[in-house]
Symmetry: D2
């Protein structure tokens, strides 16, 4: 931490700040400059509340110098984490592709789809049973019935399944039926929920909040990991910007930056960002080229009949094309991964 003094700060002001730093069991390092003095602070383990210094007389600014990602950061664990779900290994050289409908709507829609996706090369099945919908007047998901359909689809397709959890109260249910718990973008800072899945034996797929900074995203993962669950996969799914032709703006730069800072696997969901299927395949290819460990895409047997988000769903043919293109791109990225 660095305390920057105003150009008009007095010697006494500087002395008082140094004393306050010492009182916090930290060490002050004054650096007198031409125009003003700065004071380096060392010795802190946990983050120091900057207010304890910023409100003192003569202080212009308090700047945090380092960010502590204790459990998610590479400083403490340099090698990549592999998160294993059944046979699927996120973080390995192979790109892992999760596919399936936005919502589980029926047995007929889901189970044959799962088998088809398996044939086309998907590694996991996705499907929403509890749906976070913006309006209370739209389809909210099938709940437990949806989970049962997913379990049946897994049995018939051998694909492990991931589904979203919205409430601590449903955790037991979700754990019973599915293989990986998804925390959606709207719940990325739902801390009681993060803490609770941090005590689950199931791996967690954590989606980036729609306006979360990289730091907030990793700290959300810290909430899960600090409760004991080390199997966290990070998922970029688009952030909110002024741009109005896509639903969200997919921020692919976060992929290499997360991989640099953190040892956790990083995947990308292009479907929710795009909001229309014509953008999904180009963005999916781009995600792989940017270095993502996997993809999560929405696929629907008949998008025009989907009860939610049909506009962004791929057909099976489109999905087959995507898988082929992923296979071409992979060697450009993952030569030594």
């Amino acid at each position: 931490m660095l305390v920057v003094m105003k150009s008009g700060a007095t010697r006494d002001d500087i002395k008082q700040v140094c004393q306050a730093i010492t009182d916090l069991d930290l060490t002050p390092h004054p650096i007198p400059g031409k125009l003003r003095t700065a004071i380096g602070v060392t010795g802190n383990v946990a983050p120091v509340e900057p207010t304890l210094l910023s409100t003192l007389p003569g202080v212009a600014d308090v700047i945090r110098v380092t960010k502590a990602f204790k459990l998610t950061g590479r400083e403490m664990k340099p090698e990549n984490t592999i998160v294993q779900v059944g046979e699927v290994r996120f973080g390995d050289p192979e790109i892992c592709v999760i596919a399936g409908p936005c919502s589980v709507e029926s047995h007929e829609q889901t189970v044959p789809s799962a088998r088809r996706l398996k044939e086309l090369g998907a590694h996991m099945l996705r499907g929403g049973a509890f749906k976070p919908r913006t309006s209370p007047y739209t389809f909210q998901g099938l709940g437990e019935e949806g989970l049962k359909i997913l379990a049946e689809a897994r049995e018939q397709s051998t694909l492990p399944v991931v589904s979203e959890l919205m409430s601590t109260e449903d955790l037991d249910l979700v754990e019973e039926y599915i293989d990986m718990i998804q925390i959606g973008a709207r719940n990325m800072q739902n801390y009681p929920l993060l803490k609770r899945v941090g005590r689950s034996p199931k791996p967690v797929l954590l989606k980036r909040g729609m306006s979360a900074t990289l730091e907030e995203f990793l700290l959300a993962a810290e909430y899960i990991m600090s409760e004991g669950n080390r199997n966290v996969i990070l998922c970029e799914r688009g952030v909110r910007t002024f741009s109005d032709f896509s639903r969200f703006t997919l921020d692919l730069s976060i992929v290499p930056e997360l991989k640099r800072i953190s040892h956790l696997p990083v995947i990308v969901d292009p479907s929710h960002a795009a909001g229309k299927h014509s953008l999904v395949i180009p963005l999916a290819r781009a995600a792989v080229a940017a270095g993502a460990d996997g993809l999560m895409v929405e696929v629907h047997g008949d998008p025009s009949k989907a009860r939610s988000d049909g506009a962004q769903a791929l057909t099976f043919d489109m999905f087959a094309e995507l898988m082929e293109e992923v296979r071409i791109i992979t060697p450009a990225v993952r030569r030594e991964a």
Copy 2:
């Protein structure tokens, strides 16, 4: 809803879209233009999933024309809603001011503060017992002990209290001790939580999510109201933008726009948006001038000792000055309110 056809759409494409609209029990109204045809859709009560039309051949775009705010909108209830908490009436001509520390830290910090705030003209006391903190390694609030201190402060000051609820599991506890439930910005789209407080007898203070559109904000209030609880106060607290000198960008334009569309009271929290106390008073004055029904500000007896967010806390002297300025401004705004 309006379906816009591509300029190259065929007659059959148009016919098929009209048929699909009829199949949904709605009425199509084709409008042939010079370059292309548009098709108006009438008859819908609930929102129609646009995909059901957007994926048909020849369709360029599906545009929603009206937004349905059934319970929050003025179309159904033109007169202002007054939300009453004890003697305090949000939505009345008087500006209601909620003040208090960011976190409840101790009996000594909270109870005398409450009495002082009452003397200075505050209408309600705020204080966090459950704190949504970005990092798991920072102070998380006193929990039930904090709620007890707030109840004691209320008894000694006669100020009703509001405090944040983060989890459905804590609702019984929070209801027991406090007068109004706050839903924080990070939980604005935590739908199970919204539904649950929708069944509480306590009024709810709903904060705007940090990247919520006006529509998403009102639909979050719809979640609460559709469960039966009609006592909802909306609170603007700043949105996330590129701008980096304040913590969030306070979006005061939403105040008159919400008042125009909705009958619910609207208040503003300038403290979290500002992130530094030098901005809080100007923004609080501006909020009143923009037409807000009330304010929520952080006040701390000794900001330099606060365990969270001290940089943005007002001292008692600053708060007294603010109250005086609010009294000057009010007649410019609320002449006929």
Copy 3:
């Protein structure tokens, strides 16, 4: 400037960075911490290109500590600057109000309007002769004819006039007819234009770019001032965000922050941010309450006939109401200004 070393940086890395700092005629101040070393840098007058240090081995980050606003900042000139245009004094306790149509459309629309605005208390007249329109196919302004109409309106109303300059080539013309040169948001970083008006004897109204940070805004003013023209007024007019109910999001927090950092007058244009007249008056009041030195609002005798931006124009009656409300609010803000 502060150089933060990686936790694994070697002694040699640190030595090399200190040497590079010395080579730049600056002084290094190493601060050894528990996990890593930071190196303070002092002695620089102009900003140092951070790359010169950030690409050295072992360097994790280079942090700029202070921002130099040589001519715009209060550090060098603590007292407020008054910018005088005719009798109007921006920066004085009185709120200065600039009003008029978006575009100058005709003599009949402009000249009588100017007289009416003068009666209602406006201090200056605005009107666009050169219009920066998003589409090349919409009305682009009357050019020189518009400037002549403005000059005529000034003569008949005694109001000084301000109008936008888009090109260095039109400067002589604009200087001939008008009293203050406006640089629009789209040209805030048009550096040749800024430099050129920096050599004009006329005061300059500089609008904030639609996604300009506070620093970029003040540095644009530095461009003008460093050429010799010290009469610069800063104008907030809304920034681009995800929020979709107003055209731009008016960022009123920048008003007190600019006043704190800079000695220049700060005014607010609520009309372009709002995009609809129902928001203009509340935002104009809020701007004054936030501490602005003035306002710029669009007023049109018959908004439904305006050739540009009619939706946001106030009628004369609305403008009269606004002036009255401004008079009520002013004493809450400018008691000692």
Copy 4:
């Protein structure tokens, strides 16, 4: 265009709006709905100023239905435009790569670099002679001397060169020395400059403004094309968002969307968006995978000595690696291009 009436609009209101539409030589198509009436408008060629209708009594909203991209859109010219610069063909199946230093600093830095880049497979040389710098106190480019160095580099390397034009006054000079004119992000809405290069015989590389919507971007290209110059290349270079780990957020979704709507070539500059070299290669790969027709990347023989933006420059080795990866990815995207 669609006019949406308020639910309380009277018959007379509706009649008056229809009359106003007829008065504009357009045709009204009333669509009576359950709650309210909408009125379709057909017959317009140029965009109609919405205010002419939105301020009438009973009108709730005026919605533009179609966007007119007369010269940039595929509706009028379905086949791809090829922009040819020397032998280089932007829009062809081959990915065109523009590379070079941020600023032209000296003959020694530029000319041998150009030869090396040619060997490594670059198609064009970039280099700034007129630099738009945020601060007036930093290096502003070598001006004409820089252009001469570029011309020399072209001669020795055979690579055509592109350089930024900031002012109409420098156009003759720039046209004399270089092969393609770059309009930078800060000048995307500098309309006099756009019009002027619209009359140049040289192709134009138009960069997206840092907060430009897709519509504003294409309309900026319309400004150039409507003056006669049809050789425009669009360049995505990152947009401004809240995200703080990269300098700008590269919006790769715009690549497939622009290609869908417009026939113009689209390239991507990952260097300015990234702001640090560790992100440049992953983003460059992603751009190609998203369907871009080309790349523009900053390469510097010794990034630590660069006078501007060295942190984001690639070394020659990194550039060679990138070219190899581009070759692997291309077949996944451009099979039938």
